[in-house]
């Protein structure tokens, strides 16, 4: 088998895994859709479209990627990024840099898939700059197998410039979480907006740590850190949502809901810090079992308690 055939087969395998994670494999064959496919430390495919540039360099245990969107360009279709490790064991480190030019608009759909993981470590380390008046949507969803032998470290430092908007969603709700360490820090300039949402469903011995930090540094900047976590069996979760109002008329909110079942343990630490008297930051956190009224409403429609809990958790994580 020559290298091309070997890569073709791996490409098909990773795309199949991408499909299992909820992605549409057709996107990687469309010339109109920008995409990047990385399996382990190999770049299996990259497609640029006008206005967006993708560079990827293979490293011994991963990939260094640079994504640049030209100023003022509105990318019509979401950019699809696919990362995964197919063998049972391995390490994948993705060091990425996103540059979203002033006034540009772009959305990324990222799927990270580890269907066979027994001992896999996946590190995402991103530096993101959202230019003045630009808009970046970033959605990352994971698909893990059922062994739980995976460690995910997802870190990002994001800079939102004046009037820019950064909206991200992270989901790890299919398959075992394993160990998750999620740590996003966003600095927001004047009139900028940052919205972070993290969702995870842990069971078995899964461990979930979510840290979301939004620093509202410019006048009238706004931010929201939202997390939705469900844990059961012996899983553990900790959510630290921090919002700082460091400039006049900044507005922020921390919103955390954790549902706990069986012998699982959940912690929530909302941190609200205000350095300007005109700033206004709020937080709400709800941890505990499923809300009694929600549960009994569904049971009064004929659902068993287990069915009702599943419906409520599914709604919370997929809504």
């Amino acid at each position: 088998m020559n290298a091309t055939n070997r890569f073709a087969r791996e490409f098909e395998a990773i795309v199949k895994a991408y499909e299992m994670a909820g992605g549409d494999p057709a996107v990687f064959r469309s010339p109109r859709i920008a995409s990047l496919v990385v399996s382990g430390s190999k770049v299996l495919g990259a497609n640029e479209t006008p206005g967006i540039h993708l560079e990827a360099e293979e490293l011994p245990s991963g990939v260094r990627a640079r994504v640049m969107v030209e100023p003022g360009v509105h990318i019509e279709y979401p950019v699809h990024l696919c990362f995964g490790v197919l063998p049972k064991e391995g390490v994948q480190e993705i060091h990425s840099q996103f540059e979203i030019g002033d006034g540009a608009q772009v959305a990324f759909l990222t799927h990270c898939t580890f269907p066979n993981a027994v001992k896999v470590k996946h590190v995402m380390d991103a530096r993101i700059r959202v230019g003045k008046g630009a808009l970046m949507h970033y959605a990352e969803s994971h698909y893990h197998g059922e062994s739980g032998g995976i460690e995910v470290i997802s870190k990002a430092q994001i800079e939102v410039e004046e009037g820019g908007r950064y909206i991200s969603g992270f989901e790890l709700t299919h398959g075992r979480v394993g160990k998750l360490e999620f740590d996003y820090v966003v600095d927001v300039a004047a009139r900028g907006v940052a919205e972070l949402t993290a969702k995870a469903y842990g069971y078995g011995d899964d461990e979930i740590v979510v840290r979301e930090t939004i620093r509202l540094n410019g006048e009238r900047a706004r931010g929201m850190a939202k997390s939705r976590i469900a844990v059961r069996d012996r899983a553990r979760s900790e959510v630290v949502g921090t919002t700082e109002g460091n400039a006049p008329f900044t507005r922020g909110h921390v919103d955390c809901v954790e549902i706990v079942r069986d012998n699982a343990v959940a912690n929530a630490i909302p941190v609200v810090r205000v350095k300007d008297p005109t700033a206004y930051i709020t937080h709400e956190a709800a941890i505990g079992t499923v809300n009694k009224k929600e549960l009994e409403t569904l049971m009064a429609r004929g659902l068993s308690e287990e069915e009702a809990v599943d419906v409520i958790i599914k709604g919370m994580l997929e809504g």
Binding site: K292, E296, A300, R301, G302, M316, L317, G319
Partner: protein, 281 residues
């Protein structure tokens, strides 16, 4: 108890009264169809205090039975007890539904037998769409029935079907959707807890129309309300005070008694409020 029973009560705001319950035409029809719900000497106690006292009530199949009472009189408590809510286990008495003793059955089992509740303050559900929420209680979900249910509560299917049953809907909208879900479910007995209270809710005429549609489909309705304007919808009415049914009979008579004689209770604490529901697990 059958088609008539006597109730004595001790509330100083009422005269000691013995009520003879006279059957109307509707009742005669109902009696022929049988009693779908029979509550026999039901007591609910909490921390040594009686919340429901010697509740005796019979609901005839195919009728609309109105349970009328002031805020805090025990109406919702009785509803939670009837559906089997956690923390609402009677200390005495029994509940017979459709010929079966359901006193110790779970909410799910009672619902599967055909007993359900439209909540006074419906829950919010993150991520659950209106259409899916209505379908949850239906044995054979169909889009036609879901849309029909939404129209029955004066909501446009096109506008609401895909919205989420969360805080983005007003309390009144959620209340209508709750009624739509119960209507679509087609239970044997629907307990409607204060369908007329709150803002942006259905008008009394709309509620009356909805109830009529339910009964036409064979659903018996236990209508809980504190507004006497609702009573004409009913075939039979009962008056509850301090957790006790003090009068049952012809709706007009019960309404008159309620309007003339029943005043907000000044001597006793409300037996329980809606907010207490969350406390008792």
């Amino acid at each position: 108890m059958g088609n008539g029973f006597a109730v004595a009560h001790k509330n100083p705001l009422f005269m000691l009264t013995t009520i003879k319950w006279k059957a109307t035409d509707h009742l005669e029809k109902g009696i022929k169809m049988g009693i779908i719900l029979s509550i026999e000497n039901l007591w609910l106690e909490r921390e040594g205090k009686a919340i429901l006292r010697r509740v005796n009530l019979s609901v005839q199949q195919g009728t609309v039975h109105c349970l009328l009472g002031r805020n805090g009189s025990g109406k919702s408590t009785l509803a939670y007890t009837l559906i089997g809510s956690r923390g609402y286990v009677p200390s005495q008495g029994r509940i017979v539904f459709d010929g079966k003793d359901i006193t110790h059955l779970s909410i799910t089992d009672r619902a599967r037998l055909g007993l359900t509740l439209a909540w006074q303050e419906p829950a919010r559900f993150e991520g659950i769409r209106v259409g899916d929420y209505i379908a949850l209680g239906m044995k054979e979900p169909s889009r036609e029935r879901i849309e029909e249910a939404l129209r029955a509560v004066a909501l446009s299917p096109a506008e609401y079907l895909h919205r989420t049953v969360n805080e983005n809907l007003s309390g009144g909208e959620r209340k209508r959707i709750e009624l739509a879900a119960v209507y679509a479910m087609r239970p044997k007995l629907a307990i409607l807890d204060e369908p007329d209270s709150g803002i942006d809710v259905l008008s009394l005429d709309d509620i009356a129309r909805l109830i009529r549609r339910m009964t036409e489909e064979g659903v018996t309705v236990l209508l809980i309300t504190h507004r006497d304007e609702m009573v004409p919808v009913a075939d039979v009415a009962s008056l509850i005070c301090e957790g006790e049914i003090i009068r049952t009979g012809d709706p007009r008579t019960v309404r008159e008694h309620y309007a003339r004689r029943c005043v907000p209770c000044k001597v006793a604490e409300p037996v329980e409020t809606v907010r207490d529901y969350e406390r008792y697990q």
